[in-house]
């Protein structure tokens, strides 16, 4: 592939070349906004939500898909839903998720031994939620990360993350709550699993 330069010649009228008329037009536009917003009660076109004014609750204005502090979801038995697949830590642009995997020694096989998110490093992009194949991590807490006095307080471990969590019934593949559970358990005739 070669890089080529495409030259686009600008069609400039004399008016364009003088600049001043266009500049004046621009100034007029901004000045119009200035006067309208300054002298209209309620500040004219200003749409800013007055967070911090008495009587304004921030959470009333949160959009539905607001991303807040992370949480880890639970399985039916209350254990962590995460399977330590590392998708989130891999996709995380801030590299702020640290996971160590362990063998659960049950049918779910794999779980995080430790799951740590450094909320100070997090850029709240939500990629981790997008990447998670298991609906294990969510950011729907509607909680802003609140500044802490020490950095260590902003580093959330598995327990803190799970304390915000609740049971999730989402199913991989999206075919309903329990299509794998409806399936006949492995026929004992076909298996001789020493465990």
């Amino acid at each position: 592939m070669t890089i080529s330069v495409k030259k686009v010649s600008l069609q400039r009228t004399t008016r364009d070349q003088i600049f001043l008329p266009a500049i004046l037009e621009g100034l007029l536009t901004t000045a119009r906004h200035f006067f309208k917003n300054t002298f209209t009660p309620g500040h004219g076109d200003v749409e800013t939500i007055r967070y911090g004014e008495p009587g304004v609750d921030v959470k009333d204005y949160y959009p539905e898909r607001f991303r807040g502090v992370h949480r880890l979801m639970h399985r039916e038995d209350g254990s962590v839903r995460c399977v330590a697949c590392m998708c989130c830590s891999t996709v995380c642009p801030a590299r702020c998720i640290y996971i160590e995997a362990e063998d659960r020694r049950d049918d779910a096989e794999k779980a995080p031994r430790s799951f740590v998110i450094d909320e100070l490093k997090c850029v709240v992009c939500g990629f981790c939620v997008e990447a998670c194949p298991c609906d294990a991590i969510r950011m729907d807490t509607r909680e802003h990360w609140i500044p802490t006095e020490t950095r260590a307080e902003a580093v959330l471990g598995k327990v803190e993350l799970m304390s915000r969590g609740e049971q999730s019934v989402a199913v991989q593949g999206g075919l309903g709550a329990s299509y794998r559970e409806q399936a006949p358990k492995a026929d004992p005739r076909f298996t001789h699993d020493p465990r």
Partner: protein, 588 residues
């Protein structure tokens, strides 16, 4: 790393404790025996039964057309191999260059003109004038439908599957299928996480029944522990009743399994494949010197996998060799020089060693059969330097030994009973101009116990010496160039921090006399240095000039052996950069 979970302080996942191989057999008496390893009589590398497509000189050739391009290949090869010459091979599961052909997966179907049906390209030998289409609409459709079929009962466990990231099924799905499932009936359940051997866990649901593992066990170790049981939907891989997959090469099945049906216990859940960096290097496990890749992340090694080398190991390696990475345990590393138990700057330690060695009356130098040729060569040079008289000092001839790991089990496939990678090189260096080593390792222990020397220099930390011998080291000038803490290095009064085999560029001479290359997976941290460079520092401290660096010694060796690959590595250090497995797509 304070960023970690408060309940766990280590930053990386320690490898799941796998079951180590059974303790090796007691060392055979060595005195009077030829210490150099030799390949068994009539041994040949276990290379591919399927001939590579590229014709070698003097071979009969066949010319055929694949996707409109003419290609000339060796006669007797198959269409799949031939397609590889034109770029990517036809997508496949069950075919493996190193195994016999089963043609069971039907993923490699191609259209061949004048043949009525689609043909499995792995099974069709090339013929003169053949016209093959590998991506006609029919072929693409067949490929896609075969994939869908394969995936019908596949559990899609990717989040907990150790193969994810290097899975052939994943890759083919992304490349050729890429559609939502149309299955709306319950999937067939089969045993998951079934413990089928010392090293291996089986997940029968993930198996795609390619039979590679079965063929491997039959053809390479010849033990045939695996078999297909049941039929139809319920067909699954299993071990024959009363058997376990316990052969000495069993982890190869994990490598060749295109999916995550067979997983190694040692690597299970340790890390995701895509986080690893791969460094091509040589196995340290025995005198065979298999070509391997060392997989690492953040200066920690996670596994060793075989690398194709037709001259030595073909596609395989033994299970024992895979555990050599445990030697690189970060907890046991020696980072700084120690003199009489106190940590000192490296330069000071070197100066101390230089004074004490030159003052010694009775001196022994111990070459190491697990150290590189460069290090052994440097030690030879040092011994010669010490032997020369200079003004103010009389030369002292050191007694030369070769020490290494004790002998173990060997077989006629790959494993050698000599568990050292460089016995040949060490002996070559130790023999020097004199023609042979002065004494053998069995004598060393005796002599150390008897306090025969007032100074000993060990080139490496490996080697088993008796307790009495080790106790004898405490009161004399005993120097060890150690990369980790072993009984030997802990017993020595002076420890110099040496870089491990994962941190250096170096060479071994294997039992076939071939030069084997180890490459750095990461840079040596702290004061650790290549052994040859440590010895060079020592010689410089003794007042010598113009001592060769480790790199210069490697360059000399490369030139001597006309080893083009090594020459390239020495001149271009960038060629040694580990590659991130994330971009390697698949293994198996």
């Amino acid at each position: 790393m304070s960023n970690h979970d408060s309940r766990s302080t280590s930053s990386t996942i320690p490898p799941t404790p796998g079951t180590l191989p059974p303790p090796s057999v007691a060392p055979a008496p060595r005195v009077g025996m030829d210490p150099r390893p030799h390949a068994p009589e009539g041994w040949a590398p276990p290379v591919a039964p399927n001939r590579p497509a590229e014709p070698t000189e003097g071979q009969e050739t066949v010319t055929l057309t694949i996707d409109g391009k003419e290609v000339t290949v060796a006669k007797g090869t198959n269409v799949l191999e031939a397609s590889g010459l034109l770029g990517e091979e036809v997508c496949h599961f069950c075919y493996h260059q190193g195994l016999s052909i089963a043609a069971s997966c039907r993923q490699c179907l191609v259209e061949i003109e004048k043949m009525g049906k689609l043909q499995p390209s792995c099974q069709v030998p090339v013929a003169e004038g053949m016209v093959v289409h590998t991506s006609s609409p029919t072929v693409l459709k067949a490929r896609r439908e075969m994939l869908e079929f394969t995936l019908k009962n596949h559990p899609i466990d990717c989040p907990i599957c150790d193969k994810a990231g290097e899975c052939t099924l994943q890759r083919h799905y992304m490349a050729h299928d890429h559609q939502l499932t149309r299955v709306d009936v319950p999937k067939i359940r089969k045993p998951k996480h079934k413990d089928i051997g010392r090293e291996i866990v089986l997940d029968a649901e993930r198996c795609i029944l390619c039979s590679r593992c079965v063929r491997f066990c039959e053809e390479i170790p010849g033990t045939a522990e695996l078999t297909m049981s049941w039929r139809g939907d319920h067909e699954q891989i299993d071990i024959a009743d009363g058997h376990r997959l316990d052969n000495a090469y069993s982890i190869n099945t994990v490598d060749i399994c295109p999916v995550g049906a067979l997983t190694a216990k040692d690597f299970r859940f340790a890390i995701r494949a895509w986080e690893l960096h791969a460094t091509p290097t040589t196995c340290n496990g025995c005198a065979t010197g298999c070509a391997v890749e060392l997989h690492t992340k953040h200066e920690q090694a996670y596994r060793v996998v075989p690398r194709f080398d037709p001259a030595v190991n073909g596609h395989w390696m033994c299970d024992e060799g895979r555990y050599t990475y445990k030697e690189l345990d970060p907890q046991a590393r020696v980072h700084r020089a120690e003199v009489d138990g106190a940590t000192v700057p490296l330069a000071d330690a070197i100066a101390t060693v230089a004074t004490r060695l030159t003052k010694a009356r009775k001196l022994a130098v111990v070459f190491s059969s697990s150290a590189t040729n460069e290090a052994n060569d440097a030690l030879r040079e040092l011994a010669e330097v010490l032997a020369t008289s200079v003004k103010g000092r009389e030369g002292i001839t050191a007694t030369r030994y070769v020490l290494g790991h004790p002998r173990g089990e060997g077989d006629a496939i790959l494993r050698d009973a000599d568990k050292n990678p460089n016995t040949n090189g060490a002996h070559d260096a130790a023999a020097g101009s004199a023609g042979d080593v002065d004494k053998h390792e069995a004598e060393l222990a005796l002599e150390l116990a008897g306090r025969a020397y007032d100074a000993v220099l060990f080139l490496d930390d490996s080697g088993e010496l008796s307790e009495v011998a080790l106790a004898g080291l405490a009161n004399i000038t005993s120097v060890c160039l150690a990369s980790r803490r072993t009984p030997l290095s802990s017993a020595c009064s002076i420890v110099l921090p040496a870089a491990s085999w994962a941190e250096i560029l170096g060479t071994y001479t294997n039992r076939q006399g071939l030069l084997r290359v180890v490459q750095p997976a990461w840079r040596p941290e702290h004061d650790r240095k290549h052994r040859a460079d440590l010895l060079r520092d020592l010689m410089l401290a003794m007042g010598l000039r113009n001592v060769a660096t480790a790199k210069e010694r490697t360059r000399l060796l490369a030139d001597e052996h006309e080893h083009a690959e090594l020459q390239a590595l020495v001149t271009d250090p960038k060629a040694m950069r580990p590659t991130l497995l994330r971009w390697a797509n698949m293994r198996g």
